[in-house]
């Protein structure tokens, strides 16, 4: 039986990827950012899952122009990194687990999620930066990855509560998969940031830290934060935090916080990172 053992959430700022790719992780600006991930890089060496279900948003790299899916499941065998305007990141090809992905698709549709299956996507920094943060610069990623892209950009975006329901359904789907697999669910994006207009640069540490505080045991409040409230409090791009709720719901009722990190800034963004162990 497959089981979800842990969840990881992290911001996925493109500049973090550039700092890694250009060997700047030791720079004065970047060193404090990367220090926040040292614990996790150590921990995950002994806790590498077979599969990561990686919840991210595509940043107008593979979707958003002609097609805007609410929930999109990557179903190709492999995913190459996208060229976001300055060449593709020099990172390994992402390898899917299509058996598990197919099972999850089946089960999600039975559970009345109207998912979209994507048979050909390039994956952008939203997916590859978290992999680099946790696994460094290997020649191959040490596990398979199922990309799950969520529309957080074009309104109407799904509600936080719908994302929670999706996470809970993913949990059920994984637990009903007969193969003996260790699965992690990662939620990416956030924390507070706004990348447009005169209000750009907004950072709300109070909101961010309350979110981190509540993520372990006070999740009801988080489920009911409206889309409007995210925009007001955490900036237009802070709404990416709804993807953390997919991860949290997938872990079940009880979790233990293993590690937490918060830092301002990375480029325009507040960086948040948390590692949660599933107890149920």
């Amino acid at each position: 039986m497959a089981r979800i053992t842990a969840g990881i959430a992290t911001s996925h700022v493109p500049a973090i990827g550039a700092a890694i790719d250009n060997g700047k992780t030791g720079d004065e600006y970047w060193a404090p950012v990367f220090a926040g991930y040292d614990w996790t890089k150590e921990w995950i060496r002994d806790n590498t899952p077979d599969v990561v279900i990686l919840v991210y948003n595509d940043h107008a790299s593979a979707m958003m122009l002609d097609i805007v899916p609410t929930f999109a499941l990557g179903f190709a065998e492999e995913f190459e990194p996208a060229d976001e305007g300055w060449g593709a990141r020099p990172v390994p090809t992402v390898i899917n687990d299509t058996d598990l992905a197919g099972h999850i698709a089946e089960q999600l549709v039975i559970d009345e999620f109207d998912i979209t299956i994507m048979n050909d996507i390039k994956v952008d920094h939203g997916l590859t930066v978290p992999l680099s943060l946790m696994f460094g610069q290997p020649s191959e990623w040490p596990c398979k990855v199922i990309p799950l892209a969520i529309n957080v950009t074009q309104f109407p975006t799904p509600s936080g509560d719908r994302c929670w329901q999706l996470g809970a359904a993913i949990r059920d789907a994984v637990r009903s998969f007969p193969e003996d697999l260790t699965v992690q669910v990662w939620g990416t994006g956030g924390m507070s940031h706004q990348l447009q207009g005169p209000r750009a640069g907004l950072i709300n540490p109070e909101f961010d830290n309350a979110f981190l505080d509540n993520l372990t045991s006070h999740t009801t409040a988080l489920r009911h934060i409206t889309r409007l409230e995210y925009l007001r409090q955490a900036g237009t791009e802070g709404i990416e935090l709804i993807m953390w709720l997919v991860m949290r719901a997938a872990l079940g009722k009880s979790v233990e916080e293993l590690h937490r990190f918060y830092h301002v800034p990375a480029s325009n963004t507040a960086v948040g990172h948390i590692v949660l162990k599933a107890l149920d």
Binding site: Q196, L202, I203, L231, P265
Partner: protein
């Protein structure tokens, strides 16, 4: 039928903020098509060779073309653009995302960078246009 938890108009009540809707996405469809074309190195080269000629391949409005030539990101947002598309342009120019984003704030790049290092823009007074008028 579930009801909206807030009136849709409230999305316009946030200071200095434009919410990207399906309608705005239509307005910027060809602008965004241009932006995504820059995900290809050969296209970036062609654009750099002759920006105007390259832009004329796309059914963008004249205003959108001019705003691209001017690298006027505020104007591009006004004309329907979304930052995730627009950074393909600033990335092509070799700008950092911080430079592109900061250019919309009325601050210099150094001022904006300094604000971010100091913890970013406070949300105080930035939550609601209505509340600010009270």
């Amino acid at each position: 039928m579930r009801h909206r938890l807030y009136p849709l108009e409230d999305l316009e009540d946030i200071p200095g903020t434009t919410v990207f809707t399906a309608k705005r996405s239509r307005q910027a469809y060809h602008l965004h098509k241009f932006c995504m074309s820059l995900m290809d190195a050969a296209n970036r080269e062609a654009f750099k060779q002759d920006e105007r000629a390259y832009l004329d391949r796309f059914r963008m409005s004249e205003e959108q073309k001019q705003a691209v030539l001017d690298r006027d990101f505020s104007r591009l947002i006004d004309l329907g653009g979304n930052i995730y598309f627009l950074v393909k342009l600033s990335n092509t120019d070799g700008w950092s995302t911080q430079k592109a984003v900061g250019s919309m704030t009325g601050m210099t790049a150094d001022e904006y960078a300094a604000m971010m290092r100091a913890g970013g823009r406070s949300p105080e007074g930035q939550r609601s246009i209505r509340d600010n008028l009270k």
